[in-house]
Amino acid sequence: MTVAVHRRIAVFQDNFRLVRDEVSRIIVGNQDNIVGIMTCLLARGHVLLEGIPGIGKTKLVQTLADVLHLKFSRIQFTPDLMPGDIIGTTIVRETDTGRKLMEFQPGPIFANLVLADEINRATPKTQSALLEAMQENSVSAGGQTHPLQQPFFVLATMNPLEMEGTYPLPEAQLDRFFFKLKLSFPSAEGLSQILDRTTAQHEPKVERVFGQGEILEMRETARSVPVAKPVQDYAIRLTLATHPESELASDLTRRFVRFGSSPRGTQALILGGKVRALLAERLYVAADDIRSVALDALRHRLLLNFDAEAERVSTDAIVEDILQRVPLPSA
């Protein structure tokens, strides 16, 4: 039994490494974000990528889809995009015998890997079309519920809210994203590598390393990692510390946070910690694993108040403050 466990861990790590290395052939830098995206994929979550235009968000997702050999669809969110454009619509179709049937035409959301590009350029109504799909892995249309094929993984990209022509994502929508990853501008060396790879005669190509079955197996492996109560309590304390009315809340939280993280945040901490534990070749989740995913898992789940907006306090600063103040299980 123990040998089987170790073998599964080894497979998990090998597959993970394969994907990461293959994506890195196209994407320069951003190793943390590649790991973050893979963590979301293996923890059955969805990811929100934030960064200025032209930084490689779409390229990253496209590359991942190419590597994973999954059904991929891309939805370019625009202000006139309608919910039906995403989930599909019911049409009247005439059979050979002349009968007319109502038939559901699935939208682009029926894919394994869905790229919701510039999601914050669509109206909140259209953004909400993703809610059921992301949480329930199914789509209701025409009185019928259509299950989505697994793995179902939404990668949404968004521009910072300060950009023109963007709509803020609803809190319920934001909460359904497992991680929110921020893509930073590449360094000079990174830019040089990007130019080398994209301006030559031949651009590098990626190969499909594995497909749907391996991903589902990796997901099962990740879910199997046990979590001891002290570590779980630590994740709970971190979540509670984001609530201003909690006893664990720091002064910064009480001052600037309007609403704290939902229980989905705690789930993201534990599930993300499990994936990170496997990557670190651990058979259990340590507090360090929780800490390593805390920023990505909690930053978009905190709703700040007006004071924070006025004083330009970011959720990242508050989460880091919480990580500093909440005592570790070993403390």
Partner: protein, 519 residues
């Protein structure tokens, strides 16, 4: 031995080691508290002689702090339980095991059938076997703790080598006194050195003793100073009486042409100048005499004796048979005048020092809110404003006028009537009803001494080197008026006793009386 047993055994070893380590550090803390207590006790002992009250307060505060520290230490020892969970987390933290033992111990305590948990426990057991509790938790103090202990021992040794500080000496007490009080002590010493009267010197010495006594209260100091000041004032009264006697003597000698210079000097209060003038007079008489010790005689006897000697010296010029006796009397008069001059000079210095002492006493009293009232009642009995400066000595200090009071050379309606209405006292009073009425006797006296007063204002009065009191001035003026009145009455030729030049005044007076009388 199963993996669970290996883990539990390793954690038990770690727990024992933790207890030992904690005991060591608790012992070090107790040792540090004892060292601090001993050091504090020694330091307070060193200062016990210098400031016992401060030391008592410090001892109490230190004792309270020490007890509080002991209580906190005991509480931390009792509260801090060393469980296997604590041992597991401590071992994880020290060995960098990333919660491996903590998690494994929890899984051992809460067994769940899972191959993953079994694998994790097996891996944790391997880590536990490799765990060296003695290396992870060494039984030794930190370097900074050792340095602190060594420094504490050195401090204790140094504190024991330093001798206790002696109580402060008298001189240092004087130095420690506030500036004003130190000045008072210095001034008292100077006054004792200057005064020649034993009673005054004794009272000054008593005041000085009280002032230098460490336990003397402010009230006792003020009382002693007041006693000393009264003694000095008594000396001043004697000096004033002596000056008055000289003035009277000068008045008596004015008719004598030989002693004219002597009389002038005596009238100015210049006893030394009178002695020099008398020496010139006596120098013309070739005779010898003996010195008479008049230091112990009273001012009244002294005046009579001096008058006698001066008259004898003056007569010696006219009568040849008495030339020898006159010469001796002249020398004695010169000696007496020189002694009086010295006494007056010393008394002047004493008076100046006493005034300085009074100012300092006043300043100290004003600083002390508590004693200000007492001192004010004691030192300033009369709170009537001084007519010239407007200053008023009040309980608690001196009230100074914000503006000067205008002085008038002649009496005005304001001065004759009451001054009310303004705090400054210079508001106009109600007009006096009726005509100005001056008693006849007063008008006569004023007319009689007008010439003399005018000459005094122009010359001699302003040249006096001392300021006589109002009582002395009034007495002298009264004597002048009486003398002038006697002279005027003697010169009157009319039967009604009114002189010719005063007749018009008398007539005007009675005319005014009749006009103002009610019908």
């Amino acid at each position: 031995m199963s993996d669970q047993e290996v883990i539990l055994r390793a954690l038990e070893l770690v727990r024992r080691r933790l207890r030992l380590t904690r005991a060591l550090h608790d012992g070090a803390t107790v040792w540090a508290m004892i060292v601090v207590a001993v050091l504090l006790w020694r330091v307070l002992h060193l200062f016990a002689g210098r400031a016992p009250a401060v030391v008592a307060v410090a001892v109490l505060a230190a004792l309270l702090l020490w007890v509080a520290g002991l209580f906190l230490l005991a509480r931390s020892v009792l509260v801090a339980r060393c469980t296997l969970d604590v041992a597991a987390t401590s071992a994880d933290a020290r060995a960098g095991l990333k919660d491996e033992l903590t998690t494994a111990h929890w899984f051992v305590q809460h067994p769940i059938p899972s191959p993953w948990i079994d694998a994790q426990v097996a891996r944790a057991a391997r880590s536990a076997r490799d765990l060296n509790a003695a290396a992870l938790f060494p039984l030794r103090l930190e370097r900074r703790e050792l340095v602190g202990a060594a420094a504490a021992v050195l401090l204790i040794v140094a504190a024991w080598l330093v001798p206790p500080l002696a109580p402060p000496s008298d001189a240092s007490v004087v130095e420690a006194l506030p500036e004003a009080q130190a000045a008072q002590v210095q001034l008292l010493r100077e006054l004792i050195g200057q005064t020649r009267d034993e009673a005054t010197a004794k009272k000054l010495q008593q005041a000085l003793d009280v002032y230098e006594r460490k336990t003397a209260t402010g009230e006792e100091k003020q009382r002693a100073l007041s006693e000393a000041q009264r003694a000095i004032e008594q000396q001043e009264v004697q000096a004033a009486s002596r000056r008055e006697g000289l003035y009277r003597l000068a008045d008596k000698l004015r008719g004598n042409k030989r002693l004219e210079e002597v009389a002038r000097a005596l009238g100015e209060g210049d006893a030394a100048g009178a002695a020099r003038s008398m020496q010139q007079v006596a120098g013309s008489n070739d005779s010898t005499g003996h010195q008479d010790d008049a230091a112990s005689s009273s001012p009244g006897d002294e005046e009579q004796e001096l008058e006698r000697l001066l008259n004898e010296a003056a007569r010696g010029e006219d009568q040849a048979e008495q030339n020898g006796a006159a010469s001796a009397a002249g020398r004695q008069a010169v000696d007496r005048l020189q002694q009086i001059a010295q006494q007056l000079e010393v008394q002047d210095q004493l008076s100046q020092a006493a005034r300085t002492l009074q100012r300092l006493q006043l300043a100290v009293a004003q600083r002390s809110q508590l004693s200000a009232g007492r001192f004010g009642r004691q030192a300033a009995q009369n709170s009537t404003p001084a007519p010239e400066s407007g200053q008023t000595s009040m309980p608690g200090g001196m009230m100074f006028r914000t503006t000067a009071v205008a002085r008038e050379t002649t009496a005005s309606e304001q001065q004759e009537s009451s001054k009310t209405g303004s705090a400054l006292g210079d508001s106009r009073a109600d007009p006096v009803l009726g005509a100005k009425v001056t008693p006849l006797a007063v008008q006569l006296k004023q007319e009689a001494i007008a010439g003399q007063r005018q000459s005094e204002d122009q010359g001699t009065a302003k040249s006096w080197f001392y300021a006589d009191s109002r009582q002395q001035k009034s007495t002298l003026e009264l004597e002048d008026v009486r003398a002038a009145a006697r002279f005027t009455l003697g010169q009157s030729a009319a039967l009604d006793g009114v002189s010719v030049r005063h007749r018009q005044i008398v007539k005007d007076y009675f005319t005014a009386q009749r006009q103002d009388a009610p019908p």
